[in-house]
Amino acid sequence: MIVTILSILLIVTGLVFFLGAAVGLMRFPDFYCRMHAAGKGDTLSSLLVVSGFALYQLNDIRDFPSDWPVLLVILKLLAVVTFIYLTSPTSTSALADAGWEDGIDPVIEPGHENHLEDDCRKPPVSSPQP
C-alpha cells in the first residue's frame, strides 16, 4: 500500500517535470534556454517515472523466495534509469556544444554581457595538436 502511494507520488512528480520541460521547450526564447528546459526536465522526469515503475513492481513480490523473477524486472528498470542518467545530460551537452559551434548566438537582454563569448571564443587555430 505505502509502496503504491510512493510510486504514484514519484510518477506524478515526474509528469509535472515533463510538463515543465514541454512548456519550457515551447516558451523559452532561444536555443540554449530550450536545451536547458528539455535536457534537465526530460532527464529528471524520466528518472522519476521509471523509478516509480520500479518501485511499483515491488507490489508483485508477495512471497519472496518464489517471486524472485520480479527482482529481475526491477533490476532492468534500474538499468534503464542508470542509462538515462548517463546519456541524457551528455547528449544535451553535446547538442548545446554543436549549437555554439554552428554559430547560434544566445539571446542577451540589453545591459547584460555575453560571458559565453568571452569564455568560449578561441583564437583561430592554425595547427591543432595531434
Binding site: 542509462f83 551528455t90 551537452s93 556544444d97 555554439w100 559551434e101 578561441k122 587555430v125 591543432p128
Partner: protein
C-alpha cells in the same frame, strides 16, 4: 549533369517496376490470399503450419525468427546479400583513394567557435566510452536471444554497428578506424555471408538439402534434429549480425567523409 539525368531515369524506371509489382500483391489481411487461406489443392495454410509446428520442429518459441532463419532461410540469406550489395555499391560510388592523401595530416577544423579546452570532448568522450561496450554487450544479447524473444541478427547487427558509429562521432573517425579498419570491416562483411552460406552448405555434405539444418545434429552433438535447427538459427543470426555491423559502419565512414575516410563529422 548528364550523370544526374541518367541516374534520374534509372530511379524512375526502377520505381515504376516496383510500383507495378505492388499491384500483384494480395490486399492486406485478405482472407483469400495464399498465406492466410492455404494454397489451392488442399495443402494446409502456410501461417497455420508455422503456428502449429514451429515449436515441434525446432524448439524455438519465437515463430518469427524460426520462419525467418529456418523455414525461409534462403530468403534471409539473400536479404543479407542485399545489405552486402548496398555496402559494396556505397564503396564503389563514394570511396575515393588518392595517392596524395597523407594519413598523418591534421584533421580539418570545422569551426573557430570551439569551446575552450577539451572539456566538452571529455564529457562526451568518456560517456560514449562507457556506453559503447554496454551497447555492444546488449547487442550480443539481442543476437543470441533472437530465437527466444524479439531480436535477431539484423537488429543486433545494427546495434553493434551503431556502437562503432557512436565512437566515431564522439571521438574521431581516425581513432575508430585504427581499431576497426577498412580492411577489417570489408573482410567481416563477407565472413558473415560465408558463415550463413557455409551453415547452409554443410547439410549438403551428408546428402540433404541446402539450409536443411536438421542434418547438423551430429555436428552440434544434439539428441534430435530440433535442437540442431535451433543452434543453426543462432549460427545464422551471428553471420547476419557480423555482416550488418560491418556494412553499417562502412556506410557511415564513407558517407560522412565523402569516401575519403578522413576528417569526418
Amino acid at each position: 549533369m548528364k550523370a544526374k539525368i541518367f541516374a534520374s531515369i534509372a530511379v524512375v524506371i526502377t520505381g515504376a517496376i516496383l510500383l507495378y509489382a505492388v499491384i500483384d500483391f494480395p490486399d492486406f489481411g485478405d482472407p483469400g490470399s495464399p498465406p492466410n487461406a492455404g494454397v489451392p489443392g488442399g495443402a494446409p495454410a502456410a501461417s497455420r503450419y508455422y503456428i502449429q509446428n514451429t515449436y515441434r520442429d525446432s524448439k524455438v518459441p519465437n515463430l518469427v525468427t524460426a520462419v525467418l532463419a529456418d523455414y525461409r532461410g534462403y530468403d534471409t540469406m539473400f536479404e543479407t546479400v542485399v545489405i552486402l550489395t548496398a555496402g559494396i555499391s556505397i564503396f564503389a560510388i563514394l570511396r575515393v583513394v588518392r595517392r596524395d592523401d597523407d594519413p598523418s595530416a591534421p584533421e580539418p577544423v570545422a569551426s573557430d567557435r570551439t569551446i575552450d579546452g577539451d572539456h566538452h570532448r571529455i564529457i562526451v568522450g568518456i560517456t560514449c566510452r562507457i556506453a559503447a561496450p554496454l551497447i555492444q554487450i546488449f547487442a550480443l544479447y539481442v543476437v543470441a536471444h533472437g530465437h527466444y524473444s524479439p531480436g535477431g541478427g539484423f537488429q543486433g547487427g545494427v546495434m553493434l554497428g551503431a556502437s562503432f558509429i557512436l565512437l566515431a562521432l564522439s571521438g574521431s573517425l581516425r581513432e575508430t578506424l585504427a581499431r576497426f579498419s577498412e580492411r577489417d570491416y570489408t573482410r567481416l562483411a563477407f565472413v558473415g555471408i560465408l558463415i550463413y552460406a557455409g551453415l547452409g552448405l554443410l547439410p549438403m555434405w551428408v546428402g540433404r538439402n541446402f539450409l536443411d539444418y536438421g542434418a547438423l545434429s551430429g555436428l552440434f552433438m544434439t539428441k534430435g534434429e530440433e535442437m540442431a535447427r535451433s543452434h543453426s538459427m543462432l549460427g545464422v543470426e551471428i553471420g547476419v549480425a557480423i555482416t550488418v555491423m560491418s556494412i553499417m559502419f562502412a556506410m557511415f565512414a564513407n558517407l560522412s567523409t565523402r569516401g575519403r575516410l578522413q576528417g569526418g563529422l
